[in-house]
């Protein structure tokens, strides 16, 4: 059993981190000794591997282990020692340190012990040492259960080396501390050692784009439960040692889900507790167990069966709608109307009835209510738990409930399956808000729990069609029709629903100062299944310049892509757009009598490798009309970093094409 577990564990490590080396010798000495700061560390003035670093962590060393006391039972200890170098003034913030810890009551708490620290400065060849003293240490109670220990180091200057260490004693074995190998500054050496007893089985989960090494060995511990215990406990202990060297600084890039998905780290979740002489207590170590515990839970599964508070309303819906699709839609709209989302992302409800009555609730309150109501009216519906984009990704290998923070509804009508999220008042049925588009979700059902894809079924679809007459003075007059579907429609509807059409048209005017709008109308704003359409009657200035008998025309008008969204040369992480994109632009210009086209851009077709994206651009002249079409499609919601240079070049060419102009000239007759 144990063996099997270890095997899976190393497989994951290999698949996530790129290289994987095992050190031959194990039982290594500690990587640093507190107080033994070396002269070269103080003399160093830049960090050669990253000369832009303001500060660098020379060594970050942590240990976690268990201790037993007669009074408190098992406790987890976490020791940490950090040595860091301040290189520039901008790195001074690293001399202010925060240690968060958790406290429920005196017997259920974490304690920060043995906090000590020194700042080392160089005066010629002499090392000057300043101690962290207690007036520079503070406890800030940030919320009911969270406290932050804060401290600031003395006499920090450019060139200082700072060292501090502390121990956290914890009454909570479920918070075995995770280890982050990477920071926003470089880390020269990061090492974490964990001694885990067979009594507590943790799942280990690592992630990131940098590699670290792992060593494992097994020893037998000896635990005296009291002084002179004749039968000491002799559990098997597994000792891990994880080491990462030369970690680069972690830097944020555009189009990312959350930086937490990209940092190299390892964390732990308690899977089972098996104390001597007791039954195994599984925490949730399989998807089946997790599913079962959710379904039997007071704040998840059980409320799905209690819908009495809305009995009459649901009966009325059942009576009115016999078609299952219509019935589902009716329940969906009923829940959306009844309860407003309070912006809280949750997987556990704090009470369906309460949310129903106060008209306000979290994602769990709303969507578990939706599932419960659908079940009540005879529709096959189940909850799907997921992790939102800002909460990070979920790995399918381990059933870790803490990786989820949200729940939506899954509906199956005669084999036709779709997902519903009732937190959004204007989204069309089956479409998910962008925050939910994050890999896969776990469908929680008794009979057939499984993964469901959260891939968007809709894209960002935007169509811009204009018919304009060009006057000899350079004015463009005519109509513009804009039609939005999918995520583009959602954004527009949200604005109109929250601010009204008048405010919306003001925004349009603000965003398009060159448009003089003389009339406008919107259609299908309320018909959320359809694309939403806007029509404008306009006069446009600024897009045609008259010079003698010539007119220079910017045919993409205000819709030209005038900047490449990808400017940086390189990219380490994938580009995550969340959904695919389809933008179409078509404009027909009627040129003034007596003019003809002197010069015009050439057409172009450009594909991304493997046809994952395409740009088409066409210009056609027909008598006194010029027709311009431009279409950009990006078929994938996520592009890998290897595709980045292509994506960047793709947009370079779009920008260049969109800037091209048409020259028309009065014919000399």
């Amino acid at each position: 059993m144990k063996h099997l577990f270890l095997e899976t564990f190393s497989r994951v490590i290999i698949s996530v981190s790129l290289s994987f080396l095992t050190l031959s010798a194990f039982g290594q000495a500690d990587p640093i000794k507190f107080g033994k700061v070396e002269l070269p560390e103080l003399q160093m003035s830049t960090y050669a591997k990253d000369t832009s670093a303001h500060a660098v962590i020379l060594c970050d060393f942590g240990k976690s282990y268990f201790k037993y006391s007669d009074h408190d039972g098992f406790q987890v200890y976490f020791e940490r020692q950090v040595r860091l170098k301040i290189l520039k003034k901008a790195g001074y913030d690293w001399a202010n340190v925060q240690i968060p810890f958790y406290r429920v009551s005196n017997s259920q708490e974490e304690e920060v012990l043995n906090l000590k620290g020194y700042t080392y400065n160089l005066n010629g060849k002499e090392i000057i040492k300043d101690k962290l003293t207690k007036e520079a240490i503070f406890d800030e109670q940030v919320s009911d259960n969270w406290v932050i220990k804060k401290f600031t180091m003395p006499n920090v200057k450019e060139g200082s080396v700072i060292e501090f260490s502390y121990t956290i004693k914890s009454d909570f074995p479920f918070t075995f501390r995770e280890w982050q190998f990477q920071e926003s500054i470089p880390v020269v050496w990061s090492e974490y050692r964990a001694t885990m007893l067979e009594y507590f089985d943790y799942k280990k989960l690592s992630q990131g784009y940098e590699s670290f090494s792992t060593e494992v060995k097994t020893v037998t511990e000896r635990i005296n439960r009291f002084n002179g215990d004749p039968n000491p406990l002799t559990p098997q202990a597994t000792v891990y040692r994880w080491v990462a060297k030369d970690m680069p600084a972690l830097r944020e890039e555009p189009y990312m889900t959350t930086i937490n998905d990209y940092v190299t780290k390892i964390n732990f979740e308690l899977a089972t507790v098996k104390l001597p002489g007791q039954m195994i207590q599984p925490i949730n170590n399989t998807w089946q167990a997790l599913t079962k515990s959710l379904l039997e839970g007071e704040s998840f599964g059980l409320p799905l069966k209690r819908t009495g508070f809305a009995k009459d309303e649901l009966a009325a819906i059942s009576l009115k709608y016999t078609d299952p699709v219509q019935r589902t839609t009716a329940v969906y709209n009923f829940v959306r109307k009844q309860v407003k989302w309070n912006e809280v992302k949750q997987k556990y409800t704090s009470g369906l009835k309460k949310a129903y009555e106060t008209h306000s609730g979290s994602s769990a309150d709303i969507n578990l209510m939706l599932v419960a109501f659908l079940k009540e009216v005879g529709i096959e519906a189940n909850p799907v738990i997921l992790s939102t984009r800002d909460h990070g990704r979920v790995l399918e290998t381990y059933a870790l409930i803490t990786k989820f923070n949200y729940v939506i509804a899954h509906v199956n009508i005669n084999g036709n399956e779709f997902l519903l999220d009732a937190t959004d008042p204007v989204i069309k049925p089956g479409m998910l808000p962008a925050r939910c588009l994050n890999g896969e979700g776990w469908l929680v059902s008794e009979k057939n729990p499984h993964w469901v894809s959260l891939q968007p079924i809709e894209k960002l679809a935007h169509v811009f069609v204009a018919r304009l007459n060009v006057s000899p003075e350079g004015d463009l007059k005519g109509n513009i029709d804009v039609s939005d579907g999918g995520y583009s429609a959602l954004a527009m509807r949200k604005k109109i629903f929250s601010e009204g059409k008048d405010k919306y048209i003001e925004t349009v005017k603000k965003e398009h100062p060159e448009w003089q709008i003389t009339a406008h109308s919107f259609t299908d704003v309320e018909e959320i299944d359809k694309t939403v359409n806007a029509k404008y009657e306009v006069t446009l200035s600024d897009f045609a310049q008259v010079a003698g008998d010539m007119i220079y025309l910017k045919p993409m008008l205000s819709e030209a892509r005038n900047a490449n969204p990808f400017k940086l040369e390189n990219r380490l992480f994938p580009v995550d757009f969340a959904y695919s994109v389809d933008e179409t632009y078509a404009c027909t210009f009627t040129i003034p009598e007596g003019y003809k086209v002197e010069e015009m851009p050439k057409g172009a077709i450009l594909d991304l490798p493997e046809k994952t994206g395409r740009f088409t651009y066409m210009v056609a002249v027909n008598g006194n009309t010029i027709q311009i079409t431009s279409r950009i499609t990006l078929k994938k919601p996520v592009y890998y970093s290897e595709e980045y240079p292509f994506l960047k070049e793709f947009f370079n060419q779009v920008v260049a094409k969109h800037a091209e102009q048409i020259v028309i000239k009065k014919s000399k007759i």
Binding site: Y92, F138, Q141, T152, N155, V156, K157, T358, S360
Partner: protein, 637 residues
């Protein structure tokens, strides 16, 4: 960098913690229609009663009800009550009512959170906050809150801002101050039509202000701060006391005496530091140079760490502590610098100031603790040097937009003295740009650009170059350069630390399609980097004066090397616009394969009449359009 506890916190408290008293009829139908127009929330009633017990103690009772009309008014449904070591919250109650005014529920214990309210730039403060909120949210609904605070800090009396936000209408608000007859209330009414009414009960004088039926207001672009346009009553004590320190603020001089007393005797340096400073300055005979040496020593050996506890919100750390630990906040570091200067025979003054870019100056006619920061003022011969002691990279004597052009209160042994800090003119705030651009036949180009930013135009940039390494600097450059498609080949920054400092930025770019080519023509927009982007929106019936916060001059001199064989087909005329707000010229000269573009744009800081707003819009519009004009070149071969 702000680190004296200031009135601005209280302003925040008052504007968000709306309060009051009514007849308990909260039916939405009884709100007058004109108050609903464009409103997100309507304050139904508010009653603030401030009772002064003695020079050192006061209580404040607050009661109010707000109808939340929609999602956007939701932020007013929570009550935020701040407290600290000197201010206690005695009880906090609340109720929520539905649209008909029917009670839905009362505030329960679980509905109130108690959180730390340490500001972002501080390591530690004793500020905390109670936050009360209901889960009910079927619009419209009404929340009612009531609480009392007891304060042993009488440095601040309330500021009554009955209407503190946009889209927020007020049905009724009342503010009462109860003063013992032996103490004198000071107050300042701003935009108040119905002046104070006075009455007398036993040994107290009662001051009451009331206001009713204020429809929503909207902040207009480029206007003075809302606090100068809305009804506000500032109140203040004559005599006050904080943690045993008694004071009087009837004049700036008296307030200064109190601050002086707080810091008295806290400027003693260890002998070893004194000796070091003696050595450091021994060879300097010029006073200003001595000051500079000391300032550089400060910058190299200390850093900014803010810790605010009780009277420590206003009182400096001992200079000896800063000498020992190498850190402190603005008070501590200014006091430390003052002590260091004293040890080398230079006198200087602690100066209280309201710091911040675009901050409204203090009300000079109403002496109160309106400050949030401390700097140091050093008179030398005929000059005055101002020192920002919390910044390790700021040029010696430069204030910039953070503390320049406003009043500061100098603390002398005779008390406080209000003085004006230097202001920076258009000639100080420059952006001088020169570029050589070589265009190839297909339209791509390489550009070598040198931009020199001075004075307030370098404030952000100079901070950026110290705060970020080259990699982040490059990312910032990519964000700031508004060319459609380009790559940065190389870049460098140089900071010249003068009294008016300059940042010089040299950039070499490869520009894709710098000129757009269609067949035999190329199109070039000659304003490569300086096109203005902000045109204020056209509005009807402008009500408030137009405020332009910064004077500056931007110049561009760009030489384009045109590809062989191309000749101008279309060249724009020289453009010149002049208005009260500024002046603009742009011209193009062609000389044998070189197109020279020269632009100069000046804007003048000032307050202009409301009626001139549309002229400003027109002026900026014309400039924005001129910045977009293009040149057409044709290859006739």
């Amino acid at each position: 960098m702000f680190n004296i506890k200031s009135v601005s916190l209280l302003l925040f408290v008052c504007s968000y913690f709306r309060v009051m008293a009514g007849d308990g009829n909260y039916a939405v139908s009884s709100i007058p229609a004109k108050l609903l127009e464009n409103a997100y929330a309507v304050q139904r009633m508010e009653e603030i009663t401030f009772t002064v017990k003695s020079p050192g103690e006061a209580t404040k009772k607050t009661r109010y009800a707000i109808t939340i009309l929609n999602e956007k008014g939701k932020k007013y449904a929570k009550a935020y009550v701040g407290y600290d070591k000197l201010v206690k919250v005695n009880n906090l109650q609340g109720s929520v009512y539905d649209a008909q005014g029917k009670l839905v529920s009362k505030l329960k214990k679980a509905d109130t959170q108690d959180v730390s309210a340490v500001s972002d730039n501080s390591l530690f403060e004793d500020n905390r906050m109670k936050i009360a909120a209901f889960s009910y949210s079927e619009y419209p609904y009404t929340v009612e809150f009531e609480y009392e605070t007891t304060s042993k800090n009488t440095l601040f009396y309330p500021v009554w801002t009955p209407q503190g936000a946009e889209h927020y209408a007020v049905e009724q608000s009342m503010f009462t101050v109860i003063m013992p007859k032996n103490l004198k209330l000071r107050y300042k009414e701003v935009n108040i039509n119905q002046k104070v009414s006075l009455s007398s009960v036993e040994n107290n004088t009662i001051y009451t202000w009331q206001i009713a039926n204020l429809p929503v207001f909207e902040v207009e672009p480029l206007s003075a701060p809302a606090t100068t346009l809305l009804p506000i009553v500032y109140t203040a004590p004559t005599d006050f006391e904080v943690e045993g320190y008694q004071g009087n603020m009837s004049s700036w001089q008296e307030l200064g005496k109190w601050q002086h007393k707080l810091n008295e005797g806290r400027d003693v340096l260890p002998e070893s530091v004194k000796q070091k400073l003696q050595q450091l300055t021994a060879r300097e005979t010029d006073k200003a140079k001595k000051v500079k040496k000391i300032y550089e020593y400060l910058q190299a050996n200390t850093r900014y760490v803010s810790i605010q506890l009780g009277i420590g919100g206003w009182q400096s750390f001992e200079a000896s502590l800063v000498a020992d630990k190498g850190y402190g906040d603005c008070k501590a570091l200014s006091n430390y610098t003052k002590a260091m200067l004293k040890s080398v025979g230079v006198e200087s003054y602690f100066a209280l100031i309201k710091a911040g870019d675009d901050e409204q100056d203090i009300a000079t006619d109403f002496p109160t603790m309106q400050f949030n920061h401390v700097i140091l003022c050093v008179p030398v011969q005929k000059d005055t040097i101002w020192l920002e002691c919390t910044d390790q990279t700021k040029p010696f004597g430069y204030m910039g937009g953070f503390t320049g052009n406003r009043h500061a209160l100098l603390i002398t042994s005779e008390g406080g003295k209000l003085v004006k800090t230097p202001s920076y003119t258009a000639k100080d705030n420059l952006q001088h740009r020169k570029a050589e651009v070589v265009i190839a036949a297909h339209g791509d180009a390489t550009a070598e650009i040198t931009s020199v930013y001075t004075g307030q135009q370098q404030d952000m940039l100079s901070q950026m170059i110290y705060a970020y390494g080259p990699e982040e600097q490059k990312k910032m450059l990519y964000k700031s350069i508004k060319i459609p498609s380009y790559e940065i080949n190389s870049f460098t920054y140089t900071h010249t630390k003068e009294r008016v400092p300059a940042v010089s930025e040299k950039v070499v770019l490869n520009i894709r399609k710098c000129a757009s080519k269609s067949g035999s023509r190329i199109f070039l927009t000659p304003n490569l980097l300086s096109a203005i982007s902000y045109v204020p929106p056209v509005t009807e019936n402008r009500r408030s004066a137009v405020v332009l916060p910064l004077s500056y001059i931007d110049t561009d001199t760009i030489r384009y090397h045109v590809p062989e064989g191309f000749h101008p087909e279309f060249l724009p005329e020289t453009i010149h616009y002049k208005s009260a707000f500024g002046e603009y010229t742009a011209s193009i000269v062609v000389d044998r394969g070189i197109i020279l573009y020269i632009r100069k744009f000046t804007m003048n800081r000032g307050t202009y009449p409301a009626a001139s707003y549309n002229e400003l819009v027109e002026f900026r519009k014309k400039v924005a359009k001129a910045d977009k004009t293009q040149i057409v070149l044709v290859n006739k071969s």
